[in-house]
């Protein structure tokens, strides 16, 4: 179980296997550290991430969700990253409607060699979610 005291957010990061997942590997290979509470879930393309997956993550107790895909115009599956971006926007509004801060879901784009960018995103998002506090779904509010 988690230690009491400082709030350690649970963040789910859907990572495209073509780019962001490899960027996370690059970060590790370069020994660039980032918060260990980021849970990387490998997906074949950011376009595989469904609105349902993101919502289910919140239902299961995530405090924040990241969708990480390829840079625009560099998606192996042409439109996967654009589709993911639109879905993230859709989830933003859905969350707002049910009273959860839409900022808890974010989309970023990376290239496989951008290990330090991966770590920077992880750090920044972790700080932002910490400020927002635990997800209202989790606390049952």
């Amino acid at each position: 179980m988690k230690a009491k005291g400082a709030f350690l957010p649970d963040i789910v990061a859907f990572c495209c296997a073509q780019s962001a997942y490899q960027a996370a590997d690059t970060a590790g290979s370069m020994r660039i550290t980032y918060p260990e509470n980021i849970r990387v879930i490998r997906v074949p393309c950011a376009g595989r991430v469904d609105v349902l997956h993101i919502l289910r993550a919140f239902e299961k107790g995530a405090d924040g969700v990241l969708v990480l895909g390829c840079h625009e115009e560099a998606c192996r599956h042409l439109s996967g990253n654009i589709r993911a971006k639109n879905r993230v926007q859709r989830v933003n509004t859905l969350l707002q409607e049910v009273g959860i801060d839409g900022k808890r879901v974010e989309m970023f784009t990376l290239a496989p060699n951008q290990g330090s960018r991966f770590a920077r995103i992880a750090n920044e998002v972790n700080e932002r979610i910490k400020e927002l506090g635990p997800s209202p779904v989790k606390s049952g509010a």
Binding site: R31, R42, V43, R48, A62, R83
Partner: protein
């Protein structure tokens, strides 16, 4: 509860390095308590043959039917482990990996936190393993012939390389002769061979080859089918015919156009484009009025391309050698980022070509038929310079030929912002298109100089060879599957598929459903998300598998 699952977890401490930061036996002890886990093994080097043989034996002996490997990134050895699983008699897709090296022990220096994260990661992989599904492998025989579209130097080189690899190649060129841009260039600097010589050598190779079939004045109209068995409709003269190919290579090149709007100038007898100058240099003996002073302007309409500054340098040197007049090149940032370009720039300087750098576009005016250029020279702290000249040569932007653009969209290929072909992934698959079995070579997809285009052509030839040489392709049958009972044939997936891999099909001779072509499918799973009926299931990335990974949220094992 007996669900028939027998999970085997194989831990690897990466040659003992990970054991130094965490206690693997403690992880093992924890894992053994989890339900369905029948075996937990620790290895020091799962990437090596010896350990893999032991792993294979363990899978067989313990009757394991789901394998979890906790080791380095799946990007490195996933395929090897899949082979091990397969050789142990278990379907190769019944493997799930936890990345405890790159994404855990290497990234997190705090030993306690890293150990906790590793446990969570392995737990996630175990959860995922419960929902894995087998995917059967079959082999499909393919046509070994290759179609090359575009008879420029890139297409010619690709055809030669393919014929050397013993693949029969058809080279289709829309013009009456092969050679493309090489027929128009006056020189090929920084390469010290004339375009005629290069072309003659290559054409001789084409003529001598038994494997190359050249079709000039011909055009590709349409392509149906998928990788390994494309049928291409080709138009030649008034006739049309269909041929079958295993792979298609596009080497349609680029064309140039002058934008008079950006310059605020119209072309005239003393304002000409680079390609008009090429013509002039090519027939230099027939030029009556030799220009005494020539000015080149680059970087105004097309600062991003390599074609524009390269042709300015080539032609500046060409003019110096043929007409010996004064030559001045106006540029913003002359990019010499290719092999030999720095030398070409120095050669120009040594021959007396003057370079003037500007920040603000030069003002060009015409008085009594004479051209006057006013420019602020950046290197002279913005001092105003006035240059009269006999001949002004303006740059052209490189654009895709109109017919290649049309062809690209009829074949469902990705186009970039300018309409050039978009590679599958600029870093990982620089010559592959979004469709399996269709490749791009040369300037139709990238900004290349001659040497780079030739390398690109060889690259593509090897890719096609790798694909077709065996005469058959291994394919994973129904790795993404449409449930015909759920499919309402709304066409959403057919429109969304980036690889044109979904077609219509009939089940039981009555109901129309979407069907995924296993060879063309690249497994991105976009169709599964857009399907309103949730009728499509990617077996390696099913909803159940993805959702199973966050079962452990909020707690650590």
């Amino acid at each position: 509860m007996d669900n028939g699952l027998k999970l085997g977890v194989f831990l690897c401490d990466c040659g003992g390095t990970l054991s130094k930061v965490t206690d693997f036996s403690a992880i093992k002890a924890k894992l053994q308590k989890l339900s369905d886990v029948t075996y937990v093994g620790i290895s020091h080097d799962l990437c090596l043959k010896r350990a893999q043989q032991a792993m294979q034996k363990d899978i067989k002996d313990k009757g394991i039917n789901r394998v979890v490997v906790a080791a380095c990134s799946p990007e490195l050895h996933e395929n090897d482990f899949m082979n091990v699983v397969q050789s142990a008699g278990v379907n190769r897709h019944l493997l799930s990996m936890a990345n405890i090296r790159e994404q855990c022990f290497w990234a997190h220096p705090d030993k306690g936190k890293a150990a906790k994260k590793a446990m969570t990661q392995i737990g996630m992989a175990i959860n995922r393993a419960r929902f894995l599904e087998p995917v059967e492998q079959t082999q499909i025989s393919v046509n070994k012939d290759v179609l090359v579209i575009g008879g420029g130097i890139t297409g010619i080189q690709a055809a030669i390389e393919l014929s050397n690899l013993n693949l029969k190649t058809t080279l289709v060129e829309k013009e009456a002769t092969l050679g493309g841009k090489l027929n128009r260039f006056a020189n090929l600097y920084p390469v010290q061979v004339s375009p005629e010589e290069v072309l003659a050598t290559k054409l001789k190779q084409v003529a001598e080859s038994q494997n190359i079939y050249v079709l000039t004045s011909a055009e590709l109209i349409d392509v149906s089918g998928e990788v390994g068995n494309f049928s291409a409709r080709i138009k030649r003269g008034n006739g049309e015919f269909v041929r079958n190919f295993g792979a298609i290579i596009f080497a349609t090149g680029y064309t140039t156009q002058f934008s008079s709007q950006i310059y605020g100038l119209e072309l005239s007898n003393n304002i000409i484009t680079q390609s008009q100058l090429e013509e002039m240099l090519k027939s230099s003996s027939e030029v009556k009025q030799i220009p005494k002073s020539v000015c080149f302007v680059t970087d105004i309409s097309d600062e991003h391309s390599r074609v524009s500054p390269l042709s300015a340098l080539r032609n500046a040197l060409g003019i110096k050698e043929k007409f010996r007049g004064e030559v001045c090149v106006l540029c913003q940032n002359l990019k010499v980022d290719g092999a030999g370009l720095e030398k070409l720039y120095r050669d120009c300087r040594n021959k007396g070509v003057l370079f003037i750098k500007f920040d603000n576009s030069p003002r060009i005016s015409k008085q009594d038929g004479k051209i006057k250029i006013e420019v602020e020279d950046v290197l002279m702290s913005g001092e105003q310079v006035t240059l009269p000249c006999d001949l002004l040569v303006v740059e052209e932007t490189s654009v895709p030929p109109l017919d290649s653009k049309v062809l690209g969209s009829t074949l469902y290929m990705g186009l970039d912002a300018q309409g050039f072909y978009q590679e599958n992934n600029v870093h990982l698959y620089p010559t592959a298109s979004n469709r399996e079995g269709i490749f791009f070579a040369g300037n139709c997809h990238a900004d290349l100089d001659l040497m780079q285009a030739l390398t690109d052509a060889s690259n593509v030839a090897l890719s096609a060879y790798q694909l077709l040489a065996q005469g058959k392709i291994a394919v994973e049958a129904e790795k993404v599957m449409v449930d015909p009972n759920k499919c309402r044939f709304c066409l959403t997936c057919i429109r969304a598929c980036p690889h044109h891999a979904i077609q219509e099909a009939k089940v039981n001779h009555e109901k129309m459903v979407a069907q995924i072509a296993d060879l063309a499918c690249q497994g991105c799973g976009i169709c599964a998300v857009v399907c309103p009926a949730k009728a499509i299931k990617p077996k390696d990335w099913s909803d159940e598998q993805i959702l199973a990974e966050f079962e452990l949220l909020g707690e650590y094992v």
